[in-house]
């Protein structure tokens, strides 16, 4: 158990919505999340709008507090760490390289900020650290004195990664780190993350809606839908044999840039539900092509440990006996 860097149990986050004169409605962004991540592992969190992945990131970063449930990092509750201790634990890399860097600060100031805030070292020693990290993330040395406006999107993202890593955090949370970048730059950043992951034995949570990216980098994948984790397991297994119909749809929806590709027919009925009004029973049942009568009445519980899913009528269960013996 001490190998688990992060343990989340029953984490729920609800928001009260509506002004003083409207009827009180509750937005359930997260509904009972159970998640564990072991040291050195890369977990991919996949989901679309409204699934709660951004809220989960905010809770891990300490920007928001869960309404219920516990978050344990390195065995201690997250809110028992003070501001500076938490900074040493978890660091983010955000999606938008244009708003994640302070335009009034030089690259050196930005990258060294985590150290400066803690009063670590002297200006000179911090500068040296910054230069080391710049080399580590592939940022040309002369850009250390530049302002963000002089850098390209890919270069800015490297700065963001350097800033996140300079304090040697335990967990790196990457929230759509390449979505705002051009395709040819995305691969550069993905390669960088991959290399850093191996060299530094980073524990990483990679949040993305892009399944191809997640498959490439993550060891394990957790699929989120409307505030719940509907499936979890090792990357290869999830991609080859998804159990949950939503995962299946997500996989089919990945458009392959190869000749002869066809547009997939996902068979999804209805529209996205709103987190303000989650469907009864299984959250996915209005859209599920395989839904049965009881799917709208009874919410499925999570089955399985390492390889888990939340469905009454899962797909591809042929190998169940083998996988459950292995996990």
């Amino acid at each position: 158990m001490t190998n688990d860097v992060l343990i989340m149990r029953g984490v729920t986050r609800e928001y009260a919505v509506g002004g003083p004169f409207a009827k009180k409605k509750t937005l359930k962004a997260l509904r009972g999340i159970d998640l564990t991540v072991s040291r050195g592992q890369t977990l991919g969190l996949v989901g679309e709008s409204g699934c709660g992945k951004s809220t989960l990131a905010k809770i891990l970063l300490g920007v928001e507090e869960p309404t219920a449930g516990t978050v344990l990092v390195d065995g201690r509750p997250l809110n028992s760490y003070d501001r500076l201790e938490r900074a040493k634990l978890i660091q983010p890399v955000f999606q938008d390289p244009y708003s994640s860097l302070n335009p009034r600060m030089t690259v050196e100031a930005i990258i060294s900020a985590p150290l400066a805030v803690r009063g670590v070292g002297t200006r000179a020693s911090r500068r040296k650290r910054v230069e080391e990290l710049a080399a580590e993330v592939g940022l040309p040395r002369h850009l250390v004195d530049a302002y963000p406006s002089q850098l390209s999107g890919g270069q800015r993202q490297r700065v963001a990664i350097a800033r996140a890593l300079i304090g040697e955090p335990k967990i790196l949370i990457c929230d759509e780190p390449t979505s705002a970048l051009d395709v040819s730059v995305q691969s550069q950043i993905l390669n960088l993350l991959h290399r850093l992951k191996q060299e530094l034995n980073l524990t990483m949570i990679l949040i993305s809606h892009n399944l191809a990216v997640v498959h490439h980098l993550a060891d394990e994948v957790a699929v989120m839908y409307l505030g719940q984790i509907v499936e979890r397991g090792p990357s290869e297994e999830i991609f080859e044999r998804p159990h949950h119909p939503y995962t299946d749809a997500l996989l089919k929806a990945v458009l392959i840039p190869r000749p002869g590709s066809r547009l997939p027919d996902l068979g999804l009925q209805a529209e996205f539900p709103s987190p303000l009004n989650p469907p009864s029973g299984c959250a996915f049942h209005p859209r599920c092509p395989y839904a049965q009568a009881d799917c709208s009445r009874i919410a499925p519980a999570t089955r399985g440990e390492q390889r888990s899913y939340r469905c009454h009528y899962p797909l591809n269960l042929v190998e169940t006996s083998l996988t459950s013996a292995a996990s």
Binding site: E48, S49, G138, S152, G153, G154, Q155, D182, V183, S184, V185, Q186, S187, Q188, L190, N191, H194, H209, N210, L211, A212, V213, H215, H216, S235, E236, F239, A249, L250, L251, K252, A253, V254, L255, I256, P257, R258, P259, G260, S261, R262, L263, P264, D265, L266, L268, E271, F272
Partner: protein, 339 residues
């Protein structure tokens, strides 16, 4: 009939004067679309694809100037068309679908009002008839309970529904050509597939031409008949979709295809291919190949002068001086190691 050309653009050039220099984000672009055909214009940010589309629609920002050898729409020459003529054409003969349905619809007006406005701008039509036509199209694009939607405001609809409304609005006057600028980039992946299928279906039914502007090669693979690849304001490769995807000729196209992870094909944990460097600023005239700083095959002769777009048979065109036989197959790997 299929194959009849709808749009022909030759030598499109867009210039934007900035402090002390003249930016040329679009340089000598040729583009043509036939009836029932989907042409994908592919490129990354800064390649000029969006500006090309805006120029064709006559929607360039005021600071930009454009020149063109020839623009013809179904035979009518538009090269020197007046702003009035453009206004008549827009929404009627050529329609555009934008990327972000959040901002492309006016938040202050109901959907029904916005649709009626489009119809009444281009046709003599009563409000009642406009309403009928709007409902017909909302149903066609698969929007449930269309009568309710007409009296709703854009913010009451989800992203996917808003984009369907945009498509419906584009079809109101039965245009000959639709230009879709990154129509699904802002949408979730499961919605994207639905919207693209819808566009394809509509095209099959009505035979309109579709120009699809995107950076996503996956979208291109499923939708396009022909691909036009743009880099640095120029067209660098043209050809049939499956042809280019199976055998990219321009080093940039090659690089793009190599840098996309494909589950099942790219091995997990392997390094992805990439194109080193960044897109250069488009100032002044070309004195050498525009891709030279990032190309793994570049040789001295690539720097002697601008490289023309040349036909290489089978409807393929490439802007590269180095033919496939002369390329070193290990060049990309060496480039990757050097960086």
């Amino acid at each position: 009939m299929r194959g009849e050309p709808i749009l022909e653009v030759k030598g499109l050039q867009v210039e934007i004067p900035v402090e002390g220099a003249v930016l040329r984000p679009v340089r000598g672009v040729d583009l043509s679309v036939s009836r029932g055909e989907t042409v994908a214009v592919v490129g990354e940010s800064g390649c000029g694809k969006s500006l090309t589309a805006l120029a064709i629609m006559g929607l360039l920002p005021r600071a930009a100037r454009y020149t063109c050898e020839r623009i013809t729409l179904k035979g009518e020459a538009l090269t020197n068309a007046s702003p009035r003529r453009w206004r008549q054409l827009r929404g009627d003969r050529i329609a555009m679908i934008f990327q972000d349905p959040m901002t492309a619809l006016d938040p202050c007006y109901r959907i029904g009002d916005q649709m009626r406005e489009i119809l009444q701008q281009h046709r003599r039509i009563s409000s009642q008839a406009a309403r009928e036509r709007s409902l017909e199209l909302l149903r066609k694009v698969g929007i449930p309970s269309p009568e309710e939607r007409l009296s709703q405001f854009p913010h009451q609809l989800s992203g996917g529904l808003r984009q369907r409304v945009m498509i419906a609005m584009a079809l109101l006057c039965e245009p000959e050509l639709i230009i879709a600028d990154e129509p699904t980039t802002a949408l979730d992946v499961t919605i994207q597939a639905q919207i693209l299928r819808l566009l394809r279906e509509i095209q099959r039914d009505t035979g309109i031409g579709l120009i699809l502007i995107t950076h996503d090669l996956g979208v291109v693979a499923g939708m396009a008949d022909r691909i036009v690849v743009m880099y640095g304001g120029e067209v660098v490769e043209v050809g049939a979709c499956d042809d280019i995807l199976s055998r990219p000729l321009h080093p940039y196209t090659e690089g793009l295809m190599r840098s996309i992870p494909v589950p099942g094909q790219t091995k997990r944990g392997d390094l992805l291919g990439f194109i080193p460097g960044i897109v250069p600023r488009q100032v002044g005239e070309r004195t050498r190949c525009g891709f030279i700083d990032r190309c793994p095959y570049a040789v001295e002769s690539c720097a002697t002068g601008p490289v023309p777009l040349s036909a290489v048979g089978n409807g393929r065109e490439v802007r590269c001086a180095i033919p496939a036989e002369k390329r070193d197959p290990q060049a990309w790997n060496r480039l990757a190691e050097a960086s």
